[in-house]
């Protein structure tokens, strides 16, 4: 009842806190340094956030479905290495679908373990983080992967091309965000993801195939990872085995910042995009202020804690917790 009756500014702030924070933050940086909202700068930020963002879209499905995915970082390294390797062997037109198939096979494997075998997703994806890293190293023999003829291929289009002045990574991120947002909010599948994450047992008792829905969320996640790997590979045209290392936690940070509950059943694609952009613009804003890249770590830390804290406080009605 409390949420419904709480109207006016306070209620709005409590519900849309993340948007308000984003706006305040953008205005503050823009006032401090007008270059911050320069269109080139804005494009630059979104472009560099696109890889993280695309992965976060998929993880949003997994998290709303009530699970975690810590394997996306090493899975992204895997897809990048694979597509670069296959590029020179079978050409880009075949390399890309092959890479998607291989990455999504990994996603399907995780989906079977978590969905059908009902294993704890934190541990499964932790194990897969390690296992896929090992797989990547075995595949590449531990060596960096490079495209031999960087000029003679159209492969660079995904990472470096642009349409009507808008960089391709941004277009791909935006298109995927729109499609997945519609899937999540408008289709029966999306509804079932919320149901399974909200209460898996009750969803089963309503005839929702819990295992299949969870399985599908991991498939969506791995599809997004493959897309991110494609952008990464195409942008750099060469890669190390560890290119995605640590990204899983940054991705999770963006999703949580967007307000998806780790318990499942809550969150939206739109909010995740906001979370991704906040992380991106913080980094950029701090760089423009002349701070080193690592200053963003500390700021991100504070913002995540504040965002989640305020969210909890809004639901509880008190800022200070009394856990005995």
């Amino acid at each position: 009842m409390a949420e419904l009756t709480k109207k006016g500014l306070a209620g709005f702030l409590a519900r849309q806190g993340i948007l308000v924070a984003f706006a305040v933050f953008m205005i503050a940086f823009a006032v401090a340094n007008p270059r911050f909202i320069d269109i080139d700068n804005v494009f630059g930020v979104i472009r560099s956030s696109a890889i993280l963002g695309v992965m976060a879209l998929g993880v949003t499905f997994v998290v709303i479905g009530g699970n975690l995915d810590l394997s996306v970082g090493s899975m992204m390294s895997f897809s990048t290495i694979v597509v670069l390797d296959l590029h020179d062997k079978i050409g880009p037109a075949l390399a890309i679908p092959s890479m998607f198939a291989m990455t999504m096979a990994l996603g399907a494997f995780i989906g079977i373990l978590v969905g059908y075998l009902k294993l704890n997703s934190l541990i499964v994806t932790l194990g897969m983080l390690s296992a896929i890293h090992g797989l990547t190293l075995t595949y590449s023999g531990g060596k960096n992967m490079d495209i031999a003829d960087k000029e003679g291929t159209w492969f660079a289009v995904f990472g470096q091309g642009s349409v009507a002045g808008v960089p391709m990574p941004i277009l791909m991120f935006a298109a995927l965000a729109i499609v997945l947002s519609i899937v999540l909010s408008k289709t029966p599948f999306g509804r079932k993801v919320y149901a399974v994450g909200g209460n898996g047992i009750a969803a089963t008792f309503s005839g929702v195939p819990r295992a299949r829905v969870v399985f599908m969320t991991y498939l969506v996640s791995s599809f997004c990872v493959a897309t991110a790997g494609l952008i990464q590979a195409s942008r750099s045209m060469g890669s190390q085995n560890t290119v995605g290392q640590g990204l899983e936690l940054e991705v999770l940070a963006a999703v949580i910042l967007g307000g998806a509950s780790l318990l499942g059943g809550a969150g939206t694609i739109f909010k995740t995009v906001i979370g991704v952009l906040i992380l991106g613009f913080i980094q950029n804003g701090l760089l423009l202020m002349g701070l080193a890249f690592y200053a963003q770590y500390v700021v991100t830390w504070i913002i995540i804690i504040l965002a989640v804290w305020l969210d909890i406080a809004a639901k509880r009605g008190a800022l200070w917790s009394r856990i005995a």
Binding site: L70, L249, I304, I305, R322
Partner: protein
């Protein structure tokens, strides 16, 4: 009832049985595949193994307590790095240099205090904001790492003190200094968890937090103590390791949290809290290190270690689930 006791026995014995299997497998396979002539079960080799287990092991002991408590700490790797920097850097401060070798205990003190303070920050946030420990420590993993970089930029921090190196490389009764620290910490924490009110309350809180709150256990401060403890242990791990190596990169300790959690889960501690043991975690730590060394011994690429450990972790989870199933009578949910 009999069945339950049996399941419990299997659970507690499983990790040690696994270690025995590993030993046998690598000894036998080593005969055929080994690149070196030395036997795997060589005494020095085993001593070295224990020493190499120490850095992750000491952290994993702390992780066990935090996880029994029903929390998790993802920031230990960053804490480890920051404590290491404080240790090495503090010895170069002018007043410390003036102290000669007396600077060593002081530097240790600074490093350990750093760990305790970082742990206290986590604990306080978990207590006072009520935000889940997973999120809090996920944030501070980034934040603490930021502090590491801020301390010395992207440069490595180095300082070799030969007295310290001698100490760290010393062997007493055959065991290395690091091993003694690992075993000492394990003993103390085992006593803490099995014999003291604090330890028993940790189980109670992780097992049923509402019940603990209703029974008047002060859950928040209890969390705070345990986060300080794991912070201390992460720093202790850094102190033991960097006393010998003398140089720390700002990226050191990354993914240590994942290794530590892997060891704890292999040891059978429940993710949801309330169940687990220090001794089993020690087993988990040794099992992982055996695997690393063993795979090297039979000539497998170092890359495969990650693959094998990841799959074993999942297999353990699967077996645990099979053991706990109620067979055909279970609901198909």
């Amino acid at each position: 009832m009999k069945n339950e006791t049996r399941v419990n026995l299997i659970k507690q014995g499983a990790i040690w049985a696994f270690i025995v299997v590993e030993l046998i497998f690598f000894s036998v396979a080593g005969e055929f595949l080994s690149v070196s002539d030395k036997a795997f079960m060589n005494f020095d080799n085993m001593l070295l193994l224990l020493k190499q287990s120490a850095p992750i092991g000491i952290i994993a002991l702390g992780m066990t307590i935090v996880m029994i408590n029903g929390n998790i700490d993802l920031s230990v790797g960053a804490t480890f790095a920051l404590a290491a920097i404080v240790l090495l850097d503090s010895m170069t401060w002018p007043f410390m240099e003036a102290l000669g070798n007396w600077a060593i205990p002081l530097a240790w003190f600074f490093a350990l205090t750093t760990g305790v303070v970082l742990g206290a920050i986590n604990g306080l946030i978990v207590w006072k904001t009520g935000v889940d420990a997973f999120i809090v420590t996920l944030g501070s993993m980034l934040g603490f790492r930021g502090l590491v970089f801020m301390y010395n930029g992207e440069q490595p921090t180095s300082h070799l003190n030969w007295t310290l190196v001698d100490f760290a490389e010393a062997q007493f009764l055959g065991l290395h200094t690091a091993t003694w620290f690992l075993l000492g910490a394990a003993l103390l924490l085992w006593l803490l968890m099995t014999k003291t009110v604090h330890g028993r309350n940790a189980y109670a809180i992780g097992n049923n937090r509402d019940a603990a709150v209703n029974a008047g256990i002060r859950v928040g401060p209890h969390f705070l103590w345990n986060f300080m403890l794991i912070g201390f242990l992460a720093a202790l791990s850094a102190v033991v390791f960097y006393s010998e190596s003398g140089s720390v990169n700002p990226n050191d300790g990354m993914l240590y949290e994942l290794w530590a959690i892997t060891a704890v889960v292999l040891g059978g501690t429940k993710l949801s809290g309330g169940y687990g043991s220090i001794v089993s975690t020690l087993g988990g730590v040794i099992a992982i290190q055996l695997l690393r060394k063993g795979l090297g011994h039979i000539g497998a690429d170092t890359e495969t270690v990650n693959l094998v450990i990841g799959l074993i972790l999942i297999a353990v989870l699967f077996l645990d689930r099979q053991l706990n199933r109620k067979g055909k009578e279970e609901l198909r949910t």
